[in-house]
Symmetry: none
Subunit: 204 residues, 4 copies
DNA sequence: CCATAACCGAGACGGTACGTCGCGTCTTGAT
DNA sequence: ATCAAGACGCGACGTACCGTCTCGGTTATGG
């Protein structure tokens, strides 16, 4: 759980309708005003409750947002079709789609930036979002190796990073758009490489 | 210039010693307390001036930080040694080094996250930081193409993103460290690709 | 109470040590810098608290000063010795003495001037300062009437004003000093009048 | 003159239309927003000029107000009809009338309060407003003495203060209205006194 | 008669203080 | 005994205003 205070046992039980109302209010407000302008006060008012009720459940704005998004947005696993590059493209494609929503484009970067200041939040975030998605793509890579499509000494972690990072990079800096074909381009470049036979002969 | 108001003509000229004192104070405080805890008030006090003096020069915290960093940190261009992959590795290496400082690791992610909320800030940032560095690496790629090391139909923009993004990705999520050899790994993966000859024959 | 918001019922109770610390700081600063230069910010710093804490308790500088002075300075009642003019002189004398302090001479005039801009403040001031003092002098006048010293159709309100106003007038305009004998002169003039028997015969 | 800088001799002469425009703007704004909310900036804008133009002519807000009022409001002298108490009543009456205007009721008290902080301003004010009016009433008192209406050992200064101060007192504290008959009441009280023959025999 | 020098009007600046927003905490009453 | 909620203490923000400095333009005087 994310609740800072352990719900020990006795006494008045927590009103769970508040939990869901707050999560809904948080997502609503994120869509309306963004992350930087999200105030706990506004969330409490929108959810029809009070600030301390929020604070008892979440340590702060970041934790609330992580929890609210996790309960709302889902993760799409990388498929297993027998075609290595198709699976990878499909897996990265879902990342691209996640960045078409306002929350993806504007909230996620800010949230991620906050991870650096709070290791506990970072751990929560990684376990809830990052690693699940990453694990399914890692499976696809391992299948590719077994299938003989990918080199057996492939550094899977490195590849996972290279596959996903470009999309994120473009969203963050905004210097180039995240096009529909980007996933395909990235996957094929990583698989095929860009060097000419001339270079390959000279250096490998 | 970053000054929000153009210094048209008449009136009292701006005291430029304040500009430099504030920039220095900003960098100092970024190193001490980080970006999230950076206060305009504290910067003003540290610089021996006042809040309105800052506000006249910079639109907000973000703009001040961009300007202060630009005036302090420099950009290391990608070298030109005649060896394509050596140059690329060296170019990416400087990015890795930039993330070894506290400012690189903790300030830059937060700053970049703020770009999404302010297009004007994003433009300033890109023109001051991003594009200059990127341009020198783009040159290295073009030389590689001319030299016959890289495929002539290489998508340069895509490659530039793929080269730099992995480092940034690891810094942001912190799931894996940014090692010294990362630049080399990334460059060689992109050049050589990870697919086996078996895959290449089947699909290309 | 002077507190703008009624302390209805629930919620965190107010820290009363802040109240007294602020009042003490206010009186100190009034003695040091006067009324015009009295800053809420400086009061907060001196009292070791913050501006919003002050603002929750008092609507503004004026209200704070009224409250701080009322809690510090006391009112000396007009005595009852059986001698009408002696009592009146003694009563007015305390007013003279109040104007020997720096707060009396420099703070009160400015404070009183502010009453015109804020009816609520004026009411508070009158109830706390003005009327209590005035009531005791009114008693002395009524005793003088009963005793047969003063004309039974005396306009008490008018006399109260005439007794006190001269001292105030001299303090305000500073054209003449407030001497020790002033109270006696005023009282005796009002009692005896300045007209000659010649005038009295002609007009009354 | 009120001009802080002596208009020595050569150079560009001062634009006197600005003087009168500023004075008019000052009076206008005093009527609109009062004294406390009067800002030099607003005056400058209203007068179609700039702040330094004002500052060159007047040392501050107070001096500007004193000058603007002096150039606008006039002083009505105490008449000389041969009737002592009639003249005195008429003289005080003009004071009453002065306090029926908004400027009289709201601006004058605040302005007078500022006199305590600036001796030079106080002198200017006394010479322009206070003493001229006072002198004409003093003449009336001297005529009353010569005429045999007033006691020859009358303290003229004391009487002048007692005559005028009550009106001012009521305006300042607002505890009682300044009625039309107030002047008459004050004058007759001072002339006749309020003591009974019983008291007079016992103590004088 | 013109050049010079002084002064004027105006804009922008540096800084103090204000009033406000939001966070995180504490205390009371109700469940 | 624990929860929900209101109020509080405080850090920081963004703004208004003051008093000052500098600039370009205008005007009287001296050569």
């Amino acid at each position: 759980m994310v609740t800072p205070v352990a719900n020990t046992r006795s006494g008045r039980p927590r009103d769970e309708r508040i939990d869901s109302a707050v999560r809904a209010a948080t997502v609503d407000l994120l869509n309306e005003v963004g992350y930087a302008a999200l105030t706990l006060e506004a969330v409490a008012v929108r959810a029809g409750t009070s600030k301390p009720a929020l604070r008892r459940r979440w340590r702060g704005r970041q934790h609330l947002v992580v929890d609210a998004l996790a309960a709302t947005v889902g993760t799409s696993p990388t498929p297993d079709t027998g075609c290595t590059h198709c699976d990878l493209i499909a897996g990265i494609q879902t990342l691209t789609e996640a960045f078409t929503t306002k929350i993806g484009r504007r909230v996620l970067p800010a949230l991620v930036a906050d991870l650096a200041d709070d290791p506990e939040l970072a751990e929560t975030f990684l376990n809830r979002y990052f690693h699940p998605r990453r694990a399914t793509t890692a499976e696809a890579l391992r299948r590719g190796i077994e299938r003989g499509d990918l080199s057996p000494d492939t550094d899977i972690d490195l590849l996972l990073d290279m596959l996903a990072s470009t999309t994120y990079y473009r969203v963050l800096f905004g210097h180039l758009p995240v096009t529909e074909g980007l996933a395909k381009q990235v996957v094929e470049t990583i698989l095929a490489g860009v060097a000419t036979p001339h270079w390959r002969n000279h250096h490998h």
